[in-house]
């Protein structure tokens, strides 16, 4: 099966602005990579539960108490732009 990837659509979904020359380069690369991924489809996985984490992990609980990890100043310290105690962004509507 040959995969046709609509790079423009995928870039839109991923919120990635693309230059036109980038788009055509990715088009060829992504299609070739997905063709290679096709190998996975040949493995029989009938009835196999997907594995999303590799070790058995038990749920860990902590006491339901308030803890302060970061202060407001800390949280704002890397803001590209801020206004008082708020993150500032250009108007988007």
């Amino acid at each position: 099966m040959d995969i046709m990837i609509d790079v423009k659509k995928v870039a839109d979904l991923a919120r990635l602005h693309m230059q036109p020359d980038e788009e055509s380069k990715y088009q060829a690369q992504l299609s070739a990579i997905f063709k290679y991924f096709e190998e996975v489809a040949l493995i029989d996985t009938n009835g196999i539960e997907p594995l999303t984490t590799p070790t058995e992990i038990e749920q860990v609980w902590r006491a339901d108490e308030k803890v302060t990890e970061l202060t407001t100043e800390d949280a704002l310290s890397n803001a590209p732009a801020k206004s008082g105690q708020l993150f500032r962004v250009p108007p988007v509507v």
Binding site: E22, V40, L51, P54, P90
Partner: protein, 490 residues
């Protein structure tokens, strides 16, 4: 004692006995860094407070306070790990000016053990790469030969230790990013069992595979550093409650009673003959040390790579959604053209902030998770992942450790593979399956290629059986006594 040539555990012992101060140690490694970093580019940021922090260790010793097993040891910390007050970039333009308000658990534990961060090591952008050529801050050169890559993604960490700019580095390994550069630079590098080491404060790439681990000059240092950083963490619910053994004190080069599995799928024509020779020699050493060799089969080895790239790109596309240019990180210049809408705002920040390889992987993952493709790609890959893990569990019913190559070749030349991403991905065949299965893996130096470049041996063990893996490495290290160092680093 020549401090630059000393293993970390020896340095710590000397510092504790007040034979040398932590400040003197740091000064020596800083001098070496000033001499070589301009050429090798191992560090993105050098810690300008390192000397003061070393002085604090000395002050504690002077007061008779407990200083921990890595007292005064300079550490190169991969730029994936948050360091409070010290810029952390993940080698991306997206985080070019990010100064974390907190430190990763690994960094905190190293500091509590008396270690001092000397600098933030270069890497592939967001740890996506096998050659350190995707860094926004420029590539890293292999100290053994500057025409060659140091490997990746923890290439700066590897180069820093190989060029003796630090006795220990911390790397991260999602599909081989500690083991492969350790192989290329002649180091011991350990990727622990998934869940051994906290991921809190480490820039997330593929959360169900990422693990941090040490890169060192010898097995004992690696074991000692791993003891420091391992253990359950309140901030990472995937860390294990398993007790952390004293691996460094229990190293044993006598392999009598041990069974070493050799996967028949690993030993093919794909391995370059000179690399094969080094691996075969190490296997014979293990046999001479008392181990019994058994043939095993890991039939899904070949699909490990596509399964790995499906799972990790899906996880990455989700993890990297947080970089939107609102709260931290790169923001495009909107002063001349205002964003059309919020999607345009995000897209321009992300389009300009991420590099080519990162965007490629985000798109691979976005496509594989998109409506109509999820079952065929992501779910299918996760099902094969379970089968792959079961193959390892079956193999470990027959053997205690697995030996094989880390990589098909020694380090390759700068620029040789960077324009063919698929070729670059396919080379990860021997390392990715350990991350998919969650088992520990390491690289130990085994010898040299025909060009005189280091070649590492990979050793794997079952979940939480790091001691067995370290013992095999210890036996190889003891038998080989490799003494060569890169030319021109003194």
């Amino acid at each position: 004692m020549d401090i630059l040539k000393s293993p970390a555990t020896d340095i710590a012992a000397q510092v504790k006995q007040k034979k040398i101060s932590a400040k003197e140690v740091m000064s020596a490694f800083m001098k070496q860094t000033e001499k070589h970093n301009g050429n090798i580019n191992a560090f993105i940021t050098v810690n300008d407070k390192a000397l003061q922090e070393a002085e604090k260790v000395d002050a504690k010793i002077a007061k008779g306070e407990e200083v921990g097993p890595l007292a005064g040891v300079p550490i190169a910390v991969k730029d994936m790990l948050c360091t409070k007050g010290l810029r952390t970039t993940a080698a991306s333009k997206m985080l070019y000016n990010f100064v974390p308000p907190y430190s990763a658990t690994v960094v905190k534990r190293l500091e509590a053990a008396g270690a001092v961060t000397i600098g933030k090591a270069n890497q592939d952008e967001f740890a996506m790469g096998s050659s350190n050529e995707t860094s926004h801050f420029g590539g890293v050169k292999n100290p053994w030969n500057a025409d060659y890559v140091p490997g990746g993604s923890s290439g700066g960490s590897a180069a820093a230790v190989a060029a003796r700019m630090a006795p220990i580095a911390i790397g991260t390994d999602t599909g081989g990013s500690i083991r492969q550069p350790s192989s290329f630079c002649g180091l011991v590098g350990v990727k622990p069992t998934y869940g051994r080491v906290s991921r809190y404060g480490i820039v997330a790439f593929a959360s169900s595979l990422d693990q941090a681990g040490p890169m060192t000059l010898n097995v004992k240092d690696a074991a000692a550093a791993l003891e420091v950083i391992s253990g359950q963490c309140d901030h990472d619910s995937t860390t294990s409650a398993q007790p952390v053994p004293k691996w460094s004190q229990n190293l044993n080069s006598d392999l009598k009673g041990m069974k070493i599995g050799l996967p028949k799928e690993y030993f093919t024509d794909a391995i370059r003959p000179d690399v094969r020779k080094v691996v075969d020699n190490a296997i014979q050493i293990a046999k001479s040390a008392g181990a019994e060799l058994v043939e095993i089969s890991l039939p899904l080895t070949r699909v490990g790579v596509p399964v790995y790239y499906l799972v990790t790109t899906c996880e990455a596309s989700s993890n990297l959604a947080r970089y939107d240019g609102v709260r931290y990180g790169y923001r495009a210049d909107f002063s001349k053209s205002a964003p059309e809408d919020i999607a345009d705002f995000y897209s321009r920040n992300r389009g300009e902030g991420f590099g080519l390889e990162v965007k490629r992987r985000i798109m691979l993952g976005t496509f594989a998770l998109s409506s109509g493709y999820y079952d065929a790609y992501y779910k299918k890959a996760c099902q094969v992942r379970r089968l792959l893990r079961e193959d390892f569990l079956k193999a470990f019913a027959k053997c205690d450790a697995i030996m094989g190559p880390v990589f098909t070749t020694p380090a390759f030349k700068v620029g040789e593979k960077i324009n063919n991403p698929l070729q670059m991905y396919m080379n990860d065949i021997y390392t990715v399956s350990a991350n998919l299965a969650g088992i520990p893996g390491m690289s130990v130096p085994g010898g040299y290629s025909q060009e005189g470049l280091p070649v590492g041996i990979q050793i794997n063990a079952a979940h939480f059986e790091e001691q067995k893996m370290l013992n095999v490495a210890y036996a190889i290290e003891k038998a080989l006594q490799l003494k060569e160092v890169p030319n021109g680093i003194w």
